[in-house]
Point group: C2
Chain length 355, copies 2
Amino acid sequence: MLINFDAGPAALPKEVLQQASEAILNYNNSGLSILEIPHRGKLFEAILEEANTLALELLGLDKNDYQAVWMQGGGRLQFSMIPMNFLAVNETAGYIESGHWASEALKNGKLYGNTNVLGSSKADNFQYIPQWGDTPEDLSYLHFTSNNTIYGTQFHSFPETEVPLIVDMSSELYSRKLDYSKFSLIYAVAQKNIGPAGVTLIVIRKSLLEKQKRVLPEILSYRDMAKNNSVLNTPPVFPIYCSLLTLRWIKAIGMDAMQQSNEEKARLLYDAIDESKLFYGVAKKEDRSMMNACFRTHDDKHTEMFLDFAKERDIVGIKGHRSVGGFRASMYNAISVEDVQRLVSVIKEYENTVN
Amino acid sequence: MLINFDAGPAALPKEVLQQASEAILNYNNSGLSILEIPHRGKLFEAILEEANTLALELLGLDKNDYQAVWMQGGGRLQFSMIPMNFLAVNETAGYIESGHWASEALKNGKLYGNTNVLGSSKADNFQYIPQWGDTPEDLSYLHFTSNNTIYGTQFHSFPETEVPLIVDMSSELYSRKLDYSKFSLIYAVAQKNIGPAGVTLIVIRKSLLEKQKRVLPEILSYRDMAKNNSVLNTPPVFPIYCSLLTLRWIKAIGMDAMQQSNEEKARLLYDAIDESKLFYGVAKKEDRSMMNACFRTHDDKHTEMFLDFAKERDIVGIKGHRSVGGFRASMYNAISVEDVQRLVSVIKEYENTVN
């Protein structure tokens, strides 16, 4: 099998894949495939309850204050639901523009109310996390993207404000310990750190659920989705089941060990890049992401050559996003320290070959 | 393994489950799990292209006139997207109210414009397909649910009108041959006849795509989703792949043979119900569904008893919806004639036991 550094859909733990594969033939000896079990039956209820519990527990959040909700539609549906639910037409929401996805979220905000961009690094192709200054107290919420997959940047501190913080943590959730109770709404598409494509995890403060600003179809209302415990209609059963398997895998490792492993992986790769004469890191050092490392070569002729060289050595998914170029190695939870060591040794081997 | 007559998530063909299970470990010898392959890479492009082609081909639709689009959010997101896209605030859309899901679609229509209910069987607990009378020519569209899963009723003829017909075929698509070019938009959640929960197939007439009535987030716009060939953002890769496997399975059987098998299954079960002294059919005979057969016993004491009796004989998923009671056997494509013969023999065995 290949080592897959893709930004997402991304690598999943081997044991998750094994269990998912078996469940498709016969789920837990039920005599039914996981693809066939009813979404309102006992089997799925148990999956959902455990997934909801672990989703909060691993973030250190209290289920009296927060609720986990599983939705479809990816980050883009969240971009539209956030202002639809929490921004009245005459109100203003704050946005920090730290990348393409942050811009798309902002664009959706403008469809439903006023927006105030507190900081942007767009003019510099998002190579750093912008400063955000003071947060006006009358904002309906402040939205930001804590990890910017395309550019390899990450927030290492957060706005301090009474305004509800809404954060897209798609490409980093469950990778580091934080005080997650700073946030009122956290969302993350599964296909990075949590599971396969097809489900989005929303962790929402219960008090925010009461602040819906519009009459909405139930399927587009956080309040109604939460009230129905993610089962307003048929949920994506299999992606939720795989997410549960991954959350169990994280719990068995522990969030402390998970974070340490991620720090070790990032240190290994960034050290190799910084020591290199051929490769260099793209993002501003202080804002580097622990999940996605973007790097390039000074001479573009190496781009295709190194991609081929790596592929011959079973390393895939390291092509950089077209708007940045070069290379991007995504080191989500399921990528091991050994996987990164292997990438580092291939980087060094390539340098020795071309020098 | 059990025989699963559940209304959905429903049984899938054995070979689809086998292939899906293998693809999770190593997709087509790519060295990657199907859950890990990039959604913008060659592997997924090939899956999507074949799925799009088969989706239209099996309905006899021309790809110059129609496009297949895969979305998330289930039928409920379609209920809201339809009026959001095609009903301006001062316009009127027609609805035929033939069941709970038709009512929910109607409720969503009212949020965006005016609605005109051309026919309803709500007062009779939806035991039949309502008459719909003449269709006013100025309607933006006419929406109906061709098969009503909960009540076991099905449209056997369709409104004749120039108004665009929008039809929820969730629990019957690919079960019978029809002139599908009557319809401007057909949608079906996968978890009945097409694949696992987590994806919805939309087959839309290209000329309808130009009739968007509002500025919308791209993720909620049929036009933008179609323009991006279902890959505006990360699509639900695995549910789409399973749907492709099912469409291939249907193609190998052929739509003629598929319909014949479905007719045979329905005949077997309805004959057994009609011949029974203990059981009786719920839906009006002329409107009976080929997919979902609803039946009850005159004495309710048999409900739990027969469910247990069937379960002991490995038959599950036949409990009727709570709003109808009794039993419901869903005979989607993946249920074989032999499966239905088995159910019929269990029905007869039960009758002999209690008489």
